[in-house]
Assembly symmetry: C2
Homo-oligomer: 110 residues x 2
């Protein structure tokens, strides 16, 4: 307590999108669970991690969110015990115009 005020966090690794190889971005999108997460995020706004219930365990979900984050696809805000995730759509659309749209437009179950 006292005045060391500061919500110690932990430097959430969020790379510059242009530092990430295209292949890494594509690889991040090339998984069913992660694609479902991205589809959800594409609705806009932020979502707590727990929002994503896609038939995998907490551990696995956490893993996938990490992959997305480290591929530069998402940004995470820490608030209390929750973490709020959002899509880095603007940056994505600027660096890879058309990519996200094309992927999202694809039929979900094909």
């Amino acid at each position: 307590m006292s005045n060391m005020g500061y919500a110690g966090h932990m430097e959430l690794h969020e790379p510059e999108l242009r530092e990430v190889p295209v292949t890494a971005v594509l690889a991040a999108l090339a998984d069913d669970v992660r694609l479902q997460i991205v589809r959800a995020l594409a609705q806009g706004g932020e979502y707590a991690c727990g929002t994503f219930e896609f038939g995998v365990s907490k551990a696995t979900r956490s893993h996938h969110l990490k992959v997305l984050r480290e591929a530069g696809l998402t940004r995470t805000r820490v608030a209390g015990t929750s973490r709020y995730v959002r899509l880095r759509r603007d940056e994505l659309d600027r660096l890879y115009p058309g990519l996200l749209d094309a992927v999202l437009a694809a039929p979900a179950r094909a």
Copy 2:
């Protein structure tokens, strides 16, 4: 010998693009060697398999070309002992408008 004339080929598995899950298409593109091949093919026209010299063995090259073909990204024409590969760009652009352009526009080494 005799008349059983017929250039037996072998049914080269080339799926309908819409039968291929998006994740498979993305996975096919999410490899450095394959992306180099796709970049080369994107120049247009057909190329014999041997054209692609990207520092991998014959076996590996063959493997990658198979992955691309089975992901619906390429079409292969058999001619004698050679095989000519070309990009299925039209179909790709129709089903995933913008995807290929975005990927190809990305810096080669990032």
